[in-house]
């Protein structure tokens, strides 16, 4: 008897579950139609780090190496310094390795001149990890244009 009851209860919970699923048909769609539409990224999103440059390609970095020192994962392997004509420190080579970066944002927070920012690149891929070592003085970002091997897809 109890087995019979259990069977009917099982069938009933199956039906009620299916009814719940069926109701979802009439609910609004939640799927984002990526890549046809962009996925919205929050303004606070911490993407790959880059230098803030103005219209004349000038940046505010004074090569104090604070970002390199604070980086928990040694993701700034190269940051070499030289003196410019005004006897001020300027970076001559500034590399951020996105493969080591953990996107914690400590470098942006620690920067005394607010020269760094997080870009909003959210869907970069590459076929060669060497491309992830970005020279950010040249304002490189891992985009498909930068990677000659990966511009296969029609935009």
């Amino acid at each position: 008897m109890s087995e019979k009851r259990g069977f009917f209860k099982g069938v009933w919970s199956l039906i009620s579950g299916l009814g719940f699923t069926f109701k979802t048909i009439f609910r609004p769609t939640v799927t984002v139609r990526y890549p046809k539409e962009k996925v919205p990224v929050a303004p606070a999103f911490r993407g790959p780090v880059r230098l803030i440059t103005d219209e004349t390609e000038q940046h505010k970095c004074v090569a104090c190496l604070a970002c390199q020192r604070i980086c928990p994962t040694n993701a700034i392997p190269v940051l070499s310094v030289a003196k410019n004509e005004l006897n001020k420190n300027v970076p001559v080579d500034f590399v951020i390795d996105d493969a080591l970066c953990c996107y914690c944002g400590l470098c942006v927070e620690v920067c005394p001149t607010e020269a760094l920012e997080h870009s909003k690149v959210n869907d970069a891929v590459t076929s060669n990890p060497v491309n992830l070592r970005r020279m950010i003085l040249q304002n490189q970002l891992i985009t498909e244009d930068n990677d000659p091997n990966i511009s296969l897809r029609r935009k």
């Binding site: 799927t31 990526y34 890549p35 996925v39 493969a99 953990c102 992830l132």
Partner: protein, 179 residues
């Protein structure tokens, strides 16, 4: 991280191991090959294989918001023998590396690998001087086709990687199709 620490004696994927898919065919029938590649590209079956944080983003990519089923890559297989795409989502350590190699060997050719996240690319945040456990990149264990940076990468980055991989399969630029 010093360079000599990176180039440690590790098992190279090329040496000692041969992929079953790399035996050159005697006769090559190009239109059929193209059709097969098209079919392969649009029905990628990933292996259910999450190691760490990135696995949750992989699950998110297959769930309703991002839905990799739209690209034919949503049928997650629990057995490597039914899968042709391995998404290495997480930190690979010394203990795990031989298992990844074994899973890769169990997958039928042609097979493709996506390294998802910093840890799978080069050890990521754990690739430090005091490191004693983490392998510096899954490409030391298996050949990788697409690298996805991020810690963890967002689901749309994984979708982008799958799309990129599809293009590469169609144009014959993957490790499996380079005979």
């Amino acid at each position: 991280m010093s360079d000599e620490h990176r180039s440690l004696p590790v098992m190279q994927p090329d040496s000692g191991h041969t992929d079953e898919g790399q035996i050159p065919p005697i006769v090559r029938f190009l239109p059929l090959q193209k059709a097969l590649d098209l079919a392969r590209a649009n029905s990628l079956w990933p292996l259910t294989f999450g190691i760490a944080c990135c696995a949750i983003e992989m699950m998110a990519a297959s769930a309703s918001r991002y839905d990799t089923d739209r690209f034919g890559a949503g049928v997650f297989r629990n057995s490597p023998r039914q899968a042709d795409l391995m998404i290495v989502a997480g930190t690979v350590n010394m203990k795990m590396a031989p298992i990844i190699r074994r899973l890769y060997d169990q997958m039928p050719a042609p097979k493709y690998v996506i390294a998802l996240g910093s840890c799978a690319i080069c050890g990521g945040p754990f690739d430090q001087d005091e490191n004693y456990a983490v392998v510096q990149g899954v490409d030391k264990v298996v050949p990788v086709d697409i690298f996805v940076p991020g810690c963890p990468p967002r689901p749309e980055a994984l979708i982008n990687a799958i799309l990129e991989l599809q293009e590469r399969i169609k144009s014959g630029q993957t490790h499996s199709s380079r005979v």
